[in-house]
Structure formats: C-alpha cells, structure tokens
C-alpha cells in the first residue's frame, strides 16, 4: 500500500517506530546487541548468582569491551 494512502495513525506509528529504530539501532546494531548482552550478564550475576561484586566489575567492563569492538569494526570498515 502506498504510504499516502495509509491512515494517519498507521503513519504516525510507523514514524514513531522508525525513529526509535534509528535512535537505538541505526548503523551500530552491535552496540544495541551488546547492551542486551550486558543486561543479561549483570542480571545473571546479581539476581541469579547473588554476586554483587561480580556485577560491579562486569557492567563497566562489558561496556568498555563493546565500545572498543565497535570502534575496531568502524576502523576496519574505514580502511577497506
């Protein structure tokens, strides 16, 4: 269906969804995925294993690794 023929509410919802997709995923899907992994790992260590100290170390460490890998990916792409 042509977008002009879509009802206003559908277009608004589509626009809203696209905005959040671009905002959170965009051209860095690896960062989005990494944050899901971080939340899973910290939840596992804090809520399941009851290890607060492990969670304290894991959270920033995984964020730093995710950032470094994303930068490395961009660096490799730029040099191709």
């Amino acid at each position: 269906m042509n977008q002009k023929q879509s009802p206003l509410i559908v277009r608004l919802l589509k626009g809203f969804g696209m905005f959040w997709w671009d905002f959170l995923v965009g051209d860095t899907p690896e960062l989005f995925a990494a944050v899901l992994v971080i939340i899973g790992a910290v939840a596992l260590s804090r809520i399941v294993l009851q290890e607060n100290a492990l969670a304290i170390v894991l959270l920033p460490l995984l964020a730093i690794i995710a950032l470094a890998l994303s930068v490395y990916r961009a660096q490799r792409a730029a040099r191709k």
């Binding site: 905005f19 920033p60 964020a63 930068v71 961009a74």
Partner: protein, 273 residues
Amino acid sequence: MFRRLSVFHNGSNERVVRVFAVTSVSSGVIVLVGAVFLACAVEMVEALTIVLAVGHTRGWRSALEGTVVALVALAALVAVFGPALVHVPLSVLRLVVGAILLIFGMQWLRKAILRSSGLKAKHDEDAIYQETVAELEALSNRPDRDRIAFVMAFKGVFLEGLEVVITVLTLGTSAHRLGLAITTAGVAIVLVGIVGAIVAKQLSSVPENAMKMGVGILLVSYGTFWVGEGLKVTWPGNDGALALFVGLYAVILWLLITLIRPSRSVIESEVPA
C-alpha cells in the same frame, strides 16, 4: 546550599543552636546538570545552524514560525510524557533508561573517537550551513508565507529537540530531578541561542567534538549506573560511583583515541615525497 540544624537541651534552659553547614551537592546532580547542559547545547547548535540558514535565505517570518511551532510541540511532549514517566516503577524506569543511555552514550563516544582519530569527518557547521543555503536557493520561488522555510525550520528544531527531550526526560525522571533537568536544558538553550544570534555564522567555532565526548562520557556513566540500579546492584559509594565511572570512561576514551589514531611516522610514510 545551606542547611539549618537545631540542637535542643533538656530542662528550662532550652537552647537552640543554629548551625549553618554547606550541604555537599551530590556527584549525581553534577553529572546530571553537566550531561543535560552539554547535550542540549550541542543539539541547540545544530538546530540553530539550520534555522539561521533558513532565515537568511528564505526570510525570518516562516523560519521563526517553524521554530516556534516545533518548540510548542516539544513542550507538549514533555508535558504529556514527563508526569506519566513518574508513575513507572523506579527500578524498571532506571533499567530501561539506563539501557537507552548506555546505547546512546556509546554511539556518541564511538563517533567522537572516530572523529578525533580522523576516521570520520568532523561535524562542520559551516558546511551544513552552506548546504542548507544552496538547497534553499535552488528553490527560487519565495511566496509571502513560505511553506518550505517553515517545514525546514520545523524539522530541524523538532528532530534536534527530540533528542533534547529524550535526554531531559530520561535523566530527569530517573534521578527524580525533572525540574532541575528542564531548568538546565532551558538555560543551555537560551545561552546558546543568545550566543548563536550574536556570532551568527561562526557556530563552526564551537568545539562540538569535544562537547560530544563530554556528553558521551556522562551518558555512558549514567547508563552504567542506572542499569546497575535497575538490576539491584549496590554501587560502592552510592552516587559517588558516578564520578568513578566518569573518570574510568574518560581514560578509556583517551586510550582508544590514542590506539587508533595513525602515528606520525605512518602518516609521513604515506605522504609522497
């Protein structure tokens, strides 16, 4: 900020001692104000560049109308979603907001690292201004009520403003300091607006990449802190952990920039004699 303490003694000789002590502002508040101020200033510079280009090229009436309508729409979003967010359970809110800030902050840091190391072109307000002017001048028809100027100004202000709204709402509600976040955003917007109106076309001299680095560090720090809070992590030093994160991420940022920046010898070897 001063706090009054009253000390009472037993018996008829009741004595009231008023102690005025400087209440320490928590590091959480400092990081909140810094993050909101810098993020709003950066987005305001970007929005102002577009409005100035539209105003200079197509006339100020429609450019200002587009700006005002966008600001009203953004204010309505804050009015609707601000109070609604307060009713979300705090741990859920902090987990969701922390995740958003972590993603958003890492995206900003990634861009800042790539720009600092020369792998990505720096955000050039002069180039954006010239591009917008060229695009508008190509559309020679300029009616009294200029729909194109209105739409461009509206889009520029609304889209940049939306990032400000998200930053203010997420940071403000999670820290239970929505009023402070809104006030800080207002101050940043007014300050950049006044300075921007004075210096007009010299917005390119704003150290935008350095500001984005600062915002990225603050957003990632808050994101880390709140994801942890949302998952019941007890941080050592409570709010003080935020300051530690700021320092840690600043060092990591510097390390990553240093590591991926091509060394001088490499650059020299690539330059033909």
